[in-house]
């Protein structure tokens, strides 16, 4: 399979693609990942807050039935394999962005797959907060909304950043898969050249670029999480 991977034609062709297509592919992957992550956090953050605050012993107990439905819904969305989810949301993508194929259209299934995951990550970050600090805020007359915005979220910033970094790298992996439905980026290049046309070197280069991208996101995330944590004595 990899016999001719380093033949001179393969190398020159791969270099050509590296120069001509990869930069745009890299940009598309970056753009889709960032936009999908932002959208997933916008939807997932309030849901994560609800999951913690709305509990029976939470700061804003919500009806049991509502919490039950919320939990089931999140678990349901999380249990659908991404490949199948992409196909299932074709009609929805058409409704939202006007088309079901292409780079922008691939953002729709990405967000739908990622926001329940993000909600769970946010939930776990918020659960790390010392409950005594929340009690202290209550003893000072804080309202539930004030506790969420002034205590729970700011106090868990380092953990939120770590967890959103996990989300970003996971979403990055999904964007590669969305190459199958015509979502642009490095994934599409890898599939088009490597899978359909047996140009494995191109696939390899695309994968290396994806690895570098993951490293970059992870390093930035880890740096920020440590930098912003005031519990660490700098």
């Amino acid at each position: 399979m990899f016999d001719n991977i380093l033949s001179s034609e393969a190398i020159s062709e791969a270099l050509k693609i590296l120069v001509e297509e990869m930069p745009f592919g890299l940009w598309e992957t970056f753009y889709v990942t960032v936009v999908s992550t932002i959208a997933s956090v916008i939807i997932g953050l309030p849901l994560g807050v609800l999951l913690v605050a709305g509990e029976k012993d939470g700061i804003l107990p919500l009806p049991k039935a509502f919490m039950h439905i919320l939990n089931v819904l999140i678990n349901l969305l999380r249990s659908i394999p991404f490949l199948i989810l992409m196909i299932m949301v074709f009609p929805l993508a058409r409704l939202i962005v006007g088309t079901s194929v292409g780079t922008t259209a691939s953002i729709v299934p990405l967000v739908i797959a990622a926001f329940p995951f993000v909600a769970r990550l946010i939930e776990s970050s918020l659960r790390e907060i010392n409950p005594n600090i929340i009690e202290a805020a209550q003893s000072m007359g804080a309202s539930p909304f004030q506790i969420i915005t002034k205590v729970m979220l700011p106090e868990s910033v380092p953990s939120l950043i770590s967890n959103i970094t996990i989300a970003i790298t996971t979403i990055l992996g999904y964007t590669a898969m969305s190459g199958i439905i015509g979502g642009g980026g490095l994934g599409k290049i890898a599939i088009n050249y490597g899978y359909y046309r047996y140009k494995y070197l191109v696939m390899l280069i695309a994968v290396i670029l994806l690895i570098i991208l993951v490293q970059v996101f992870q390093s930035i995330g880890t740096y920020l999480a440590v930098k912003l944590d005031k519990r660490i004595k700098h």
Binding site: I133, Q138, S139, M140, G141, K230
Partner: protein
């Protein structure tokens, strides 16, 4: 004035009701430093949380300056909580905010203007003697310093009452003492009523004027600290006053008459009372038990003295000892 009337609190678990507090009645006067002491599990923390309604009592009422706060709506209750603030065993500072912003926090919650809040916070940093820690983060401070910041935070909204929930339990004895000094100072200077929850008798001894002893959810003894130290009546009080379990044990097998001498703040620390009795009255007393402690210059506690079984000697001893102020004598028999 805080009045706690017939207050009960029970928690329901899956299979049964657990009664945490039973029929508590307490009155705390303005300006008091009131200690509520008990072993762990006695219900102290639940009781203090009923005073600011962090725990809703199952029955009974908490009346602060004539207002029954149990009847208030959540939003009104939040305003009361600016008046009845709290400090904790674990300090509970916001770890991602610096000290200044921590002290500003309750003011921020109350909607006070940022510049005013900052001014007040700087003032409070001076009161708690940490003026140079405004920009430090809690993680950079020692436990005692963190508790000082927590005290400053609790004072930010100019409260009338400060609740201290095991506020010194996580601190070493020296730091404990300095924090208690600060609390005493705040009580005097700012005229703030202080309620101290603790399991340490030394804390009560150090700072409280009144004390209530809580045991298994009930108040078993209540009154002036000196009176309870001098003559603890309930078993719970005795356990706390004599923590090493050296309870008064009367010796049954010796043929002696026994007198209990209760020192209720007598100025006897410098007087060798028993020796003087031996010299002046020629009565030899056998010290069978003694547990006294000095609070300030005064002595509190009790002693059991043994005498020869002779009415004349015993009555002379009683007369001699009673001449001293603040000493109470009673004869005890073997089964007390």
């Amino acid at each position: 004035m805080i009045e706690i009337k017939n207050l009960s609190k029970s928690f329901s678990t899956a299979d049964k009701q657990i009664s945490a507090l039973e029929n508590i009645n307490l009155t705390i006067q303005d300006g008091d430093i009131y200690g509520i002491i008990g072993m762990s599990g006695a219900g102290k923390s639940t009781l203090v949380r009923c005073i600011n309604m962090l725990e809703q009592p199952t029955e009974g009422s908490v009346i602060i300056d004539g207002q029954d706060i149990g009847t208030l709506k959540e939003t009104e209750l939040r305003k009361i909580r600016r008046n009845v603030t709290m400090i904790f065993q674990g300090f509970n500072l916001l770890m991602q905010r610096n000290c200044l912003d921590n002290i500003c926090f309750p003011l921020e919650l109350a909607g006070v203007k940022k510049s005013d809040a900052k001014k007040k916070a700087l003032e409070l940093l001076n009161i708690v003697e940490l003026p140079d820690k405004a920009n430090a983060y809690p993680a950079q401070l020692s436990g005692g310093q963190q508790q000082r910041i927590a005290i400053a935070r609790a004072l930010a909204t100019n409260p009338k009452v400060l609740l201290c929930d095991e506020a010194t339990s996580a601190l070493d004895p020296k730091t404990t003492h300095s924090i208690l000094e600060l609390i005493r100072d705040i009580n005097k200077r700012l005229k703030i009523t202080v309620i101290i929850i603790t399991h340490q008798m030394s804390v009560v001894e150090d700072i409280c004027t009144k004390v209530a002893i809580l045991d298994e959810g009930k108040i078993v003894e209540e009154g002036d600290v000196s009176a309870i130290f001098a003559n603890p009546k309930s078993n719970a009080a005795k356990r706390l006053v004599f923590p090493d379990g050296s309870n008064e044990v009367l010796l049954n097998d010796i043929k002696q008459r026994q007198l209990r001498v209760v020192f209720n703040g007598a100025l006897a620390a410098s007087e060798p009372l028993i020796t003087k009795m031996a010299i002046d009255e020629n009565i030899a007393a056998n010290i069978l038990y003694a547990s006294t402690r000095c609070i300030g210059e005064k002595v509190y506690g009790s002693m059991i003295l043994g005498f020869t079984d002779d009415d004349e000697i015993v009555s002379r001893a009683v007369n001699y000892l009673e001449k001293n102020n603040n000493i109470v004598i009673e004869e005890v028999n073997n089964n007390v």
